[in-house]
């Protein structure tokens, strides 16, 4: 029944192209809702009621059935995808309004259709096990997200970024496909995930795991495979960036987790590998985020950081399984998997509120913003909520997943042996540094964008965005707070997912009292804040509150906006510490000795990503140069082309004569 409705919704998606422009969005929304309901029913059924892993037939292709298999892991990802898509499609309704006049019927229809099919293809990725079907769904996901990214295709740069994205996704696809092919050739088993069981039973897992990790890692955005991410996210419209960053990159995590369920040997090195890359991605991701000026690019780098945190959880989990330390394994996996959900919530929330800022001010450069909290108070509150959550501060959801990972690490120290302890030491140092840098970064973003005095007329003229854009943020915000305040209710379902990797243990169920005490402590804290608020109000009731200008140390005459700290100056001391990575360049000319009355000057800073420069730009530039050299043959002269044909024929004649072929 559910499957039939699901297929019907897929087909009805094409109707978006036929209906009039006004009802396109409504039809899209309706189909999204239908898809969300039917797949969530399937997922909840698998997670809580039915014995999981049941397969249902989606369709027959050339006489053979394509199965949908929903186990605990799939259903978790299905639910995460559905929630973020729900907020995404609701937000799109408000965000796309200004575009309705600019874009024609077909363009809008294509956008809505791609958004729907991005949703469907992500769900299929989570539920298909067959190799071909999975790869097709994976490809659909890349193609539709590509169409979504180039929505503003009148901008040449956007198209270029989109193509870069598409190419990188196909490199990923080839890697995943070759992994499947290797397994298939080596074992002759079925071309599917389940076929991997046989391969891993008889072979060392390293090669195949590396192929899968590289393929899925490009999607997930592990450094150094991340170079598409900081470009594609800012170029895409905000609801698309929210969804891409919130859930689409998590499909890479899903893939890695799925492959891990089949590997049962040699896990130690795999765990260390994941852990190493994740700590690296986390620390560098957030460091690179700090020096960004483009708010969406900055959030994109934070996605890399959070993928790192998820990876730290998973890596620790794998090390725990390998070293037979159940508490490390369970809490590591639990923290990593919960962080997938958490990140999808706060990152989409942050992208939505950043989108509202962009829609109002038409700039993403944070050095031109400021003081928005006065004009956009609700957006500011949600951005603050998202910032606190992404920094992993209590009592919000990000803290819960980081707390689980920390508990796993610290409890794993005692039973662990020397190598394990050293691994744990490095990973928690990494996690602490990530947390600290995230706080540094988000105090900067929030402070520069929303607080202080507006730095440009654009920021002064902003208005609060409409209820249609606020409502999805409310939804995400509520879940963020609920997970933060009562984490205990999420442990039971989490337990059934984690047991796929670790076997069933009571560790997570035993953690429920801990979570309750955490809730209690958070409650006490909130109570204190409320109490103090009340106390201060009663203290201030009898007295007249005064307002005045900010203390300016005597320099009150100048433009207050110029007096403020800018994003560049805030990031300056991190730039000094991390100069190797962030490669910030300052462009200015200094004063001459005989210059008594200085003329007008400019000051510019540029930061570049060291990985992008060396891994993508340099090789592709080199290739381009080489191609340009070859291009001398392309003269556009017919006689020359005939000459090439003649030369070729003589060449063939000669080598045949010499019996070379």
């Amino acid at each position: 029944m559910e499957i039939k409705v699901f297929i019907l919704a897929m087909i009805l998606g094409f109707a978006i192209f036929i209906v009039p422009k006004k009802s396109q969005y409504l039809l899209g929304l309706l189909l999204h809702l239908v898809v969300i309901v039917v797949t969530s029913v399937l997922a909840i059924d698998a997670l809580f009621y039915a014995p999981a892993g049941q397969s249902q037939i989606l369709a027959y292709v050339a006489g053979s059935p394509v199965h949908l298999v929903v186990d605990e892991l799939s259903s978790f990802f299905v639910l995460v995808v559905n929630f973020t898509m729900l907020t995404g499609v609701l937000y799109a309704g408000g965000y796309l309004k200004p575009y309705l006049e600019k874009k024609n019927n077909g363009e809008m229809a294509l956008h809505y259709f791609s958004f729907l099919w991005l949703h469907i293809s992500m769900l299929l990725v989570c539920m298909l096990r067959d190799g071909f079907a999975f790869l097709i769904a994976w490809e659909l996901m890349s193609v539709f997200s590509f169409i979504l990214v180039i929505f503003e295709s009148e901008n040449k740069q956007t198209v270029k970024i989109g193509l870069n994205y598409l190419i990188q996704m196909h490199i990923g696809l080839v890697l995943i496909m070759s992994a499947f092919i290797v397994a298939w050739v080596k074992t002759g088993a079925v071309f599917s995930f389940d076929g991997l069981t046989i391969y891993f039973a008889g072979h060392k897992p390293y090669l195949l795991f590396l192929l899968f990790f590289a393929g899925f890692g490009i999607k997930a955005g592990f450094i150094p495979l991340h170079t598409w991410l900081p470009h594609a996210h800012p170029a895409a419209p905000s609801h698309v960036s929210g969804v891409m960053s919130g859930v689409m990159i998590k499909m890479g995590i899903y893939g890695i987790l799925r492959v891990l369920t089949y590997i049962h040997t040699d896990l130690l090195y795999i765990g260390i590998f994941i852990l190493g890359i994740s700590v690296f991605s986390g620390v560098l991701g957030v460091t690179l985020a700090i020096v960004q000026h483009d708010i969406k690019k900055l959030l994109a780098y934070h996605s890399i950081e959070n993928i790192g945190i998820i990876g730290i959880g998973i890596g620790l989990g794998v090390v725990g399984v390998a070293e037979n330390i159940p508490v490390l394994a369970v809490l590591g996996f639990a923290g990593g998997i919960l962080h997938v959900l958490n990140h999808s919530l706060f990152k989409s929330l942050l992208f939505y509120s950043a989108g509202s800022v962009y829609q109002q001010t038409h700039t993403r450069n944070i050095d031109q913003l400021g003081g928005l909290i006065k004009n956009m108070p609700r957006t500011a509150v949600f951005f603050l909520l998202g910032s606190l959550a992404i920094c992993g501060l209590p009592p919000f959801n990000g803290f819960i997943s980081e707390f689980l990972i920390y508990s796993g690490m610290f409890r794993g120290l005692f039973p662990g042996d020397l190598p394990t302890d050293v691994i744990i030491l490095f990973s928690f140092i990494g996690l602490v540094i990530i947390g600290g840098l995230a706080i540094f970064c988000f105090t900067k973003v929030f402070g520069i964008v929303f607080l202080g005095t507006p730095r440009s007329p654009k920021a002064m003229k902003a208005h609060e965005s409409g209820g249609r854009m606020i409502f999805p943020q409310v939804l995400a915000g509520i879940v963020i707070i609920v997970i933060g305040l009562v984490p205990a209710i999420f442990l039971q379902p989490l337990n059934s997912i984690v047991s796929l990797f670790t076997g069933s243990t009571p560790i997570l169920t035993n953690a429920i009292p801990v979570m309750n005490k955490l809730s209690l402590s958070s409650g006490i804290f909130i109570l204190f804040v409320g109490l103090l608020w009340f106390l201060r109000r009663s203290q201030q009731k009898t007295r007249q509150i005064e307002t005045g200008p900010t203390w300016g140390c005597g320099y009150t005459g100048a433009n207050p906006a110029l007096h403020q700290y800018s994003a560049t100056s805030y990031a300056d001391n991190i730039r000094d510490l991390a100069s190797e990575v962030v490669q910030l360049k300052k462009h200015y000319n200094s004063f001459g000795e005989d210059e008594i009355f200085p003329a007008k000057r400019t000051f510019e800073t540029h930061s570049s990503d060291v990985f992008e420069d060396n891994l993508v730009k340099k090789p592709s530039d080199g290739l381009l140069k080489w191609f340009e050299k070859i291009a001398v043959f392309q003269t556009g002269n017919l006689q020359h082309y005939l000459l090439y044909a003649l030369v070729f024929m003589i060449f063939i004649f000669l080598i045949t004569l010499l019996k070379l072929i």
């Binding site: 400021g370 003081g371 108070p377 500011a380 603050l384 606190l388 920094c391 501060l393 209590p394 803290f399 707390f403 920390y406 508990s407 610290f410 409890r411 120290l413 005692f414 039973p415 020397l418 302890d421 744990i424 030491l425 928690f428 140092i429 602490v432 540094i433 947390g435 600290g436 706080i439 540094f440 988000f442 105090t443 900067k444 929030f446 402070g447 520069i448 607080l451 202080g452 005095t453 005490k517 402590s521 006490i524 804290f525 204190f528 804040v529 103090l532 201060r536 201030q540 007249q544 509150i545 005064e546 307002t547 005045g548 900010t550 203390w551 140390c553 403020q564 700290y565 100056s569 001391n573």
Partner: protein, 306 residues
Amino acid sequence: MAWIGILSIIITGIIFPGIIGMVKARVGGRKSPSIFQPLSDVIRLFKKVAVYSSTTSVVFRIAPLVYFASVISVLTLIPFAGQKGLISFEGDFVFFAYLLALGKFLMIIAALDTGSGFEGMGANREALYSLLAEPAFFILMGSLALFAGNTSFYNLYHHLHLNTHLSYLTAITAIYVLIYIAMVENSRLPVDDPKTHLELTMVHEVMVLDNSGFDLALIHIASWLKFSLYGTLIANFLLPFSLPHYAQIIFFFIVQVTFAVTVGGLESFKARNKMVKNPQFIVVLSAIAIVAFLTALIITEKFTLN
């Protein structure tokens, strides 16, 4: 018992700045103010009218409350005199550190809320220093966790004391690092000089330039409490949990007063670091904390030297 603990921490917190002030005055050859001078300053502040900058928003008004509430709330987690804190659970020290970070987060953005370049500078420095100091605390806790399977604050200390006497080698390093973390977190010398009068060289003080009245009083009390909080963490290393309660409490006060005198002494004789040297100075604390971790690995015989 836990309530007595919280009360003792609050009492020592109140006299802490007084003691530091006294020591500094004596060493500097001045007549010292009363030990309760800071307290009466704060009481005066509570009676005053607040002045808010017209640039500020609700963030500026809520930040001191969150800061104060975060410090008061973590008091419930600290073990005292061989007893668990009011609330004790696995990994409570992570909550401890992160809740304090929440307070700091709000204070930093509140400073940016004023739109003042000086306060932005202070906020920026505070953010950097606390991010650099954080790993040291976690590494210390990690080295204690090597002795204990259960990782609540109470258990960490308890197992340290239960272990062989060698484990006190870890404690020595830990105390050294904790004293300096306390100095960094509370913006004292050698990282920050609370008595400086030039905005450009301030860190914490410049962040609260625009706070007044009730809010400023809360911020002051919160900093005192933070000091005695770290003092309690240090005292727990020194107090064998087997002593009777009354002895522990007396001992606790002695340790706290000694800590305050030490801070006063350090502040009298040490010059403040150059601003650019500060990050280096703070990162060294993490390096020393790693030494504590290695010591713990050797003591637990995971790391054998042959």
